[in-house]
C-alpha cells in the first residue's frame, strides 16, 4: 500500500498548495503520477489511451483541487476522478459495448490484506493483475496495492459495499487461478 510517508506528504502538500506555496502542486503530482498511471493502465486497453486519460485526469485535478475539503481524502478523490475519466473514455470510444464488471452481487466476507502479499512476489502480482478483468484488477489495486478500505473502494468505484467485497474475493480467486495455470503460484 501507499507508504504512510507518502500519505502524510500529500496531505501536507495539499495544505501548502492551499496556502499559496509554489511548487507544492508539482510535488503532489510527482508522488501520485506513477501509481495513478498504473491504475489507469489497468482500466484501459492501450498505452496511448492510458496516457490520454492520465493527462486529462491531472488537468481536471489541477482545476478542481480546491474542491477537496479534507486533505487526507485526496488519494481517494484522485482515484475517483481517474476512474470517472477512464469510464467516460470507454463510453466515448466504445459506445455500444456494455461496461465491464456488472456481475451478480454476492455478499462474501473480505479476506485479510496480508495473505495476498505473503504468497506473491512483485513480478507475479504485476503479471497476474494484467490478466484479470478491469473490475477485478481495479479492486485489487485499490484495496491491496494502494491500501484503501473497502468503503473507500466502494466510494471510488461507485458500487455497493457487498459488491466490492465480492469482487475482491473473486479477484483474488481469479488471480490465484491465472497464476496457478501459469505455474507461478504455489497452491494455497
Amino acid at each position: 500500500m501507499a507508504s504512510r510517508r507518502a500519505l502524510i506528504e500529500s496531505e501536507l502538500l495539499l495544505l501548502q498548495h492551499r496556502r499559496g506555496r509554489s511548487g507544492a502542486l508539482e510535488k503532489l503530482v510527482e508522488i501520485w503520477e506513477r501509481p495513478l498511471y498504473y491504475y489507469v493502465r489497468r482500466l484501459v486497453n492501450t498505452e496511448d489511451e492510458a496516457k490520454d486519460v492520465t493527462q486529462d485526469v491531472w488537468l481536471n485535478v489541477v482545476r478542481k483541487i480546491g474542491a477537496v475539503r479534507d486533505p487526507a481524502a485526496f488519494p481517494a478523490w484522485l482515484y475517483k476522478v481517474a476512474r470517472t475519466h477512464a469510464v467516460s473514455h470507454f463510453r466515448e470510444t466504445r459506445p455500444f459495448e456494455p461496461l465491464p464488471g456488472n456481475e451478480s452481487v454476492a455478499d462474501v466476507a473480505c479476506t485479510n490484506v496480508n495473505d495476498l502479499y505473503s504468497t506473491l512476489n512483485a513480478e507475479e502480482l504485476h503479471w497476474g493483475l494484467s490478466q484479470l478483468s478491469p473490475p477485478h484488477s481495479e479492486c485489487l489495486i485499490l484495496h491491496f496495492l494502494e491500501g484503501f478500505s473497502v468503503e473507500e473502494v466502494g466510494n471510488i468505484t461507485g458500487v455497493p459495499l457487498g459488491t466490492v467485497k465480492s469482487r475482491i474475493h473473486y479477484a483474488k480467486k481469479a488471480l490465484r487461478d491465472v497464476l496457478k495455470k501459469e505455474g507461478k503460484c504455489n497452491e494455497q
Binding site: 510517508r5 496531505e11 501536507l12 495544505l15 501509481p35 493527462q55 489541477v62 504485476h126
Partner: protein, 189 residues
Amino acid sequence: MSNSELRDKVLELEPYPEDLKDRIREKIIHTKERPLKAWERPFLAFWCIPVGLVLLGVAIWGLTRYDAFSQIPGHKLVGLAFCFLFGCGLLVFCSMVLKKGALRLRSTSFMIYAALGFVVFWICAAMIAGRPVTSGDLAGLIVVGVCVICTRIESSELRLRERVLCNELALAELSELVSRRDAQGIRRD
C-alpha cells in the same frame, strides 16, 4: 518485504512514459490557478473592492457635481465616459492582479475581507458625511468582525495542522530509515 515495498516494486514494473511526465507538467503550468498567499487575501480584498469603489465614487462626484466641471457643456456625458473607462481600467487591473484568479475570487476569506472593507468604508463615509452611525451599521460591523475572527481561526488551524503534518512526516521518515537499517541487519550497540 513490506506492503509498501511490494507496491513500489510492482509500480516499477509498469514503465512510466517520460513524454507523459513532460506533457502533464506543461499542462499544469498553463492550467493551475495560484491560490492567494496569506498576505494577498486581505490586501487584495481591501484594496481592490472598497478602494476601487471610493475612487469610482470620487470620480463620479467630481465630474458630475463639482462646479468647475459642471460649467463644461456635456459634462455628464464626459463624466459617464470617464467613469466607464475608469471602471474598465479597474476591472482590467483587478483581472491582471488576479491573473487566472477565479479560484481566488471564490475564496470565502477573500469575500469576508472584502465585506469588512466595505462595512468600514460605509461607516467612515457616514461619519464624514455627518450622518449618524446607526445600529444597523454597528450590527453589520459586528457580524463581519465575527466572520473575520472565524477566518483567522481557520487560517491558524491550517497553519497548526501543517506543523503537525511536518512533524508526522519527519517521524515517518525516521521510522523508514530505522526499518531500512534493520532490514540491512545493522544493529546499534
